[in-house]
């Protein structure tokens, strides 16, 4: 029995787009307030991206998807799915995706739904969109991976919980910038991290976050995919793993036989933190910005709860023509203004009025 997945009809990424808000909170601002600055030189990231007071998952999704449409060079009305993966949808009931569809001129003839699966909600939407396009039901489908993550003040996660993400227009391989070779999804019931309804901040089952969750799921999705496609780590020009911090992606890369050079371009966490559902897809847009025709690329997400989606893509000649049709991921990361903890606390509603 083959455990990985492969479409009958060749499909791929036709357009991709990134978004990172312009504000940054340095990790030292957090350690100064909560740890008296005693960080022992071991902060998990240098700084994290922070949305402005008028930004949320919906506004950020609109900009990333707009960039994906600019590179796809298609009429937005040709899109038949707007699927937005996030754990920070602004509404509990009312889809983010309908607002995105309306704002981009995709509405009304489209499916629209919000996907949830912790940090892999975005690649889950990508799997579905690739399948939707491959089945022929839709010529083009839009998948979005976006988050404005929140950590409890003082908690270890506060250093990394960041904002940003990516969007992908998927469609026929003949128009693609990267053609899908195959994918593998690996999911189990693992209680490593969760948030109950009506709770603002998540909980983490400490002993579960590393080995049985992140490393186990990614190792299985990637190794199974590589086995089925008869590929070796050295066949890939670049690899992107989910990046909840700087160390985990470095460690899984080493475990699976990938070099530091292969993960370098897509490893954004040290500079912007963990953008949750946005993290590995956003890293993948940074890789696409630098990719050359013929490059083979691996994308492997991880979502708590838990699961991992791994994809293998091969870059086409069209990449050169569309790279510069929208802002690069690097240009969003460079466009930064640092703020202090007080500004962050005000913008992210961490100050309560009584």
């Amino acid at each position: 029995m083959k455990l990985s997945m492969k479409p009958d009809k060749p499909v791929g990424i036709v357009g991709y787009g990134a978004y990172v808000p312009r504000y940054r909170l340095p990790a030292t601002e957090i350690s100064k307030l909560w740890r008296g600055g005693q960080d022992r030189g071991a902060l998990p990231v240098k700084e994290k991206s922070l949305p402005g007071p008028d930004e949320d998952t919906i506004t950020m999704s609109i900009e990333a998807a707009q960039n994906a449409l600019l590179r796809a060079e298609i009429d937005p009305a040709q899109i038949r799915s707007v699927w937005a993966g996030s754990e920070s949808h602004p509404y509990a009931v009312k889809p983010s995706s309908t607002i995105v569809a309306q704002a981009l001129g995709i509405a009304p003839y489209t499916t629209a739904a919000d996907f949830e699966f912790a940090c892999k909600a975005g690649t889950e939407a990508m799997q579905a969109a690739l399948g939707f396009a491959a089945s022929g039901m839709a010529s083009y489908a839009l998948a979005i991976a976006m988050d404005t993550a929140q950590g409890r003040p003082g908690d270890a996660l506060e250093y990394t919980a960041a904002a940003g993400g990516a969007a992908f227009v998927v469609g026929p391989a003949e128009n693609a910038v990267a053609v899908l070779e195959g994918s593998c999804s690996y999911s189990t019931d693992t209680p490593d991290f969760f948030r109950r309804s009506y709770q603002k901040y998540p909980e983490h089952g400490n002993r579960f976050t590393g080995e049985p969750a992140y490393f186990h799921h990614i190792a299985n999705s990637v190794n199974t995919l590589l086995g089925d496609l008869d590929l070796k780590p050295e066949d890939f020009a670049a690899v992107v793993f989910h990046q909840p911090n700087t160390k985990f992606p470095q460690k899984i890369a080493k475990m699976l036989g990938f070099s530091p050079e292969q993960i370098k371009t897509g490893l954004l966490a040290p500079r912007i933190g963990n953008t949750y559902a946005g993290a590995s897809p956003l890293g993948f847009t940074a890789v696409l910005d630098e990719a050359k025709p013929g490059d083979r690329l691996l994308l492997a997400s991880f979502g708590s709860g838990a699961g991992s989606d791994a994809f293998s893509f091969v870059v086409t000649d069209r990449i050169e023509a569309v790279k510069h049709k929208a802002p690069s991921t690097e240009s969003y990361i460079e466009r930064c203004v640092r703020v202090d903890y007080a500004t962050y606390a005000r913008w992210r509603n961490k100050i309560r009025h009584f």
Partner: protein
């Protein structure tokens, strides 16, 4: 903003949808039924590119309650590339950074929200053009 009005005007707020006069080509925002330039009734929906320049601005420090979260913020007169001068909020720019004549582009942002239980209103704002 009430919900029916917000719903009716959504394409105006999201897509900067105004009108274009089929007779004299003048573009209008907000949309009009009769062209103010030539009095023609032949106007059709027209989506503006969202590119513009800052004509003038004012920094707001004392805001109506629904905008308090954004204080200080900048209300601007923006000259759209296609002609009309419109009023809009600026975003991703501080009062120290703003400059008359600076190139701007449309983005969609939160305009206001009706408390913690009500609707969130989204619409156009302008930010300094992101070059790449």
């Amino acid at each position: 903003m009430d919900i029916p009005r917000s719903w009716r005007l959504r394409n105006q707020r999201y897509l900067l949808e105004g009108t274009r006069c089929s007779h004299c080509d003048q573009k209008h925002f907000p949309p009009v039924l009769i062209c103010p330039a030539c009095q023609s009734r032949e106007t059709a929906p027209f989506a503006f590119s969202g590119q513009g320049k800052l004509y003038s601005y004012s920094v707001v420090y004392q805001a109506p309650s629904q905008f308090e979260a954004f204080v200080p913020y900048i209300v601007a007169l923006v000259d759209l590339e296609e002609g009309p001068r419109i009023t809009a909020q600026l975003t991703d720019v501080s009062p120290e950074e703003v400059q008359i004549g600076m190139p701007l582009e449309k983005v969609i942002r939160k305009i206001s929200e009706e408390g913690e239980r009500g609707l969130i209103f989204y619409g156009y704002k302008f930010r300094p053009l992101v070059t790449y």
